[in-house]
Each structure stands twice: as structure tokens, then as C-alpha cells.
Symmetry: C2
Subunit: 306 residues, 2 copies
Amino acid sequence: MEPEQLVSCIDFRYISDVLTKEEAIEMLKKNAATKKEREDYLVKNGYPAYTTSTAWLGYSDDQLRQRCKTALKEGWTRFKMKVGSDLKDDIRRAALLREEIGYDNILMMDANQKWDVQETIDWMKQLAKFKPLWIEEPTSPDDVLGHATISKAMQPLGIGVATGEQCQNRVMFKQFLQAGALQYCQIDSCRVGSVNENVAILLMANKFGVPVCPHAGGVLLCELVHHMSMFDYIAVSATTENRVIEYVEHLREHFKCPVKMQNCHYLPPQYPGYSTQLTEESLRDYEYPKGKVWQDLIQQGKFKPV
Amino acid sequence: MEPEQLVSCIDFRYISDVLTKEEAIEMLKKNAATKKEREDYLVKNGYPAYTTSTAWLGYSDDQLRQRCKTALKEGWTRFKMKVGSDLKDDIRRAALLREEIGYDNILMMDANQKWDVQETIDWMKQLAKFKPLWIEEPTSPDDVLGHATISKAMQPLGIGVATGEQCQNRVMFKQFLQAGALQYCQIDSCRVGSVNENVAILLMANKFGVPVCPHAGGVLLCELVHHMSMFDYIAVSATTENRVIEYVEHLREHFKCPVKMQNCHYLPPQYPGYSTQLTEESLRDYEYPKGKVWQDLIQQGKFKPV
């Protein structure tokens, strides 16, 4: 689409104090001439990714070590761990992870809304020595001003704040950007009102110089969101610096067009559309209650249809 | 309930940076000794109210005048008008209203989320000469920082910002209060998670010295919310200064315990509970599809059951 066409898909209502239609067109025109170069680069090298599969809270220490070793062998250089249940446990697990991945690789931490504002600051001061790139979802996803306070406290520690997967619309993202409340903008492909709303958010993030690092915890989110990040690189920010897409394999066997990875990078899709389709087999086998999966469960007495 | 009991109903998660359990108990204890005085005052005088029924957008100028005259005769001293569709029209209607009610009575304006931030400021500068007490819901109800910008611009004009009827939880209200983004806090009895969440909001508003003026556009909202304002007066703020409950008669004929008004003031309820019940007749007549109302519509060919 031409910049004017593309911008006509955006609802500027309630965001005109931060981004006007004219600015958006200007932004898209700025990098238009060099789009082909970046497209070629993506086809060859793919878009950087990080893995969340090494360090869920439920894993034993042995599992953590084993998963790190496997991920390192696969070529991963960016790792996310879950934190927030128990401080001592977090310290032990972070130390273990750093032992395995070293300090040349990148570590992120994700608290999934566990803390209050001051609690975040106190807790992260204890985890700062493990040099996390970011702390993700430290508190209520609605708390713009809380995230701004946390961001300010994290700055001297060299830790960014990441959030967005539960952020409901462009008006909330606008405020997170205005308040300096996030340093990594985690759009999600399913949370806000479709592609159009995410395009508005990408453009606002670019205006504020905030990198977009989408949320993509498997379940088709990776597939949907990789279109977004590649659009950001090709048409909006024109850089992958500090930008990375989450990667989790969860349920990819059911997708007609699962993302293709190469050296832990997302390759661009080679087919039209938004990669949303499920395979015919999965649709057939999981159809309730006649599909094979349900029938097996019923016959084994593991499920009783209502 | 004793302060400790009452406070145990509040979820302090995500608001502890603004209000702690201890502060809340302290706040409730402060006015506990004089509760009976205020209860007696309410039984005698009621709680102040304003009317929204005089100036909806659809009314002709004649209707506006007629409704003002009637309301004045009934003793109303506070009037709300809808604005935001057409500036010239708003100016004409505001002039007309002030002609009818004079400048000793109070006028509020309600834009129902019509504008962007700068648009609000520009528009309200044109309406400031009609001395509205507040501008309600000028822009997106999610836009805390936008409301803060508007509040700052309205201050020299003597106009407050009112919002809250679409505010989803205590975390959002917390931020509106922290940012100085509202001067009148419009809790709603049905929007947030029940009575408990509203108690948290009342206490935070009291801490910031912001008056609570509930949203109550008929349809049982008046009934539910008058409990809240009376609790605020008796147990929390201990004042009705700058405080007022919206009043609209809409659908009150269906309620088992409709609010009782006296000289345009809400009288306290004289029965236990939260005033939520509908009358047996209404439940019977409106039951779909067998109730009398539906059957009449069907027989008259005005409705076709699916």
C-alpha cells in the first residue's frame, strides 16, 4: 500500500495529540525508497527472536540447565525467564541461567503482573546483578503511571520495562509512550482491535523511538505477529536494533502456515494472508464432540460430554 | 461494619502505592464517632442531586425551555446539558439554558467522549463564558494523561473535569487521581467490580480530596449508587460539599425500591439491601416471549420472535 492508503486504515481518534495523519504519512514516506533492501535482507537473514521455552517457573533446576544447553546448541542468544513467585528462588534460578548462558547472551525477566509498584522496585534491585535486559509486566497492565515510576527506578540499574500483551488499545499505548513508562513495546496480535490498531501503535512507538518487541507465546501468536515486526522493519522503523520477536513452539503442529525459523530468526512468510489457518486434520480431529481426539477421551472415560 | 472489617473487603493489590490498609482504617476511624449525626442529617435533609433530564441533545429549543421551567418549579438548582455535536448549537443551547436557570444555579456539561484532547480545550474555551461547573467525559475514558492535560487547561477557566462512568477498575481511578486528571470522580455502581471496588475508589478519592459525584443515568443506577454516596458522607469524607448525585427518572416504575426524593435530594433507603430488585409485575410482563409486553408487540405485528 502507498503511505496515504495505509494511513487511511488508522483511526486517529484520541491519538491526534501524539500522532497526526500527516506525520504518519511522512514517517512512511521517509523509508519508502529503501524498502526493497530490507525485504531482501529479511529473506536472507530473517528477523531476530528470543526463546521463552527454557525457563518457565515449573521447571526443576536440572530441566533449566538441560533446556539452556539445548537452546544454546540450537543457536539461541536471547533467553527469557519467569520471575515473581519467590525472591530466593528467582535469585537461584537467575544465577543458574547465567552460569549456563554466560553474560554475552541476553537475559530477560517476566513477572506476569505479580507485583505492586514499590515491590517491583525492591525485588528487581535484588535481581539487577544478573543484568536482565528488561523486566516484563511487573505490575497491573493498566498502570501507566506505575510503570513510569518503575522505569525511572530501573534506569540507573540498566533495566528496561517491557509491557503490552494485556494493553487493550492505542489510547493506552499512547500513554505508556508519553509517560516514558515502557522501553520495550510488546504489541500482541490478538489483544487490540486487529492489524489496523497495531499499525497505529507501531507508528506511535517509532515516533517515541521505542523498539517494538511483540508478545508471541505460541498458540498462533508467533505466526500473526511476525508480519507486524517485518512491516515495522521494512516500512516504519527501518531497523532491527534492540528489536526481537518472542518465540515459543507451542501448538505449531496445528497451523497450516507455521513460521519458518532459520538460525533462531523468523523468516518472512512466502504466501499471502495473515497465517491464521489451522490444518484440515486438526480441525477434523478436534471438532467437538465427534472429532477423534474427543472420541478417544470419551472412550477412555477421561471426558464426559455435557 | 467496623473499620477493620470493612477494609478487609478491599483488594489493595496494585493500589498500595497510593493507599495502604492502615491508611484506610485510619481514615474510617477518623469520622466514626460522628457517623450518627450525619445519618440523622441525611434522614432529614437527604443527599444533594442534579438533573440530566432537562437538556438532552435531541430536544428542541422549546422543549429545553419548557423542561427548565418545570425543573425550576420542582426545586432543581443543578442542571446538566449534553454538548459536543456542533459548537454553534452548543453555544445557542447553553445561552438558552442560562437564560432560563440564571447564573445562581449550577450548570454542568457532558460531552460523552466526543473529542480529542486539543479539540476539548478549543471547544470548551468557547463554552467557558457559560460558566459550567465541569466538563464531563471530554475524551477517551482510558486517557488519564489526556484528562490531565485538559484539567490543566481548564483550571484558569474555572472548569473542572469529571469522568469515571466508563472507568473499569481501581487501578485506572488511582491514576486519574495521581495525575490530577479529574476534579469530580464519577463512580458508577455497575461498571467496576461491585461494591468492594467502589469502596476502594471512595477512599482513594478522599485521600486526594477529590469529591465523588456518581454517575446515575436512571435504569436502576440511581438506586444502587445512592448507597455509595451516603456511605461516603457518613463514613468517609463526612461532607457533601461539592458532592452531588446525578438523577434521572428513567424506568423507575419497574423498581421494587425506587429512590425517594425530597426537595430534589435523595432520601436514605429505609429497607435492607442494595435496592436491586424489579417489581413482580415488570418481571412478569416483560418476560420474553410470553410476557404481556412482548405478546402485545407480537399481536400488533411490531415484533417477530426469532
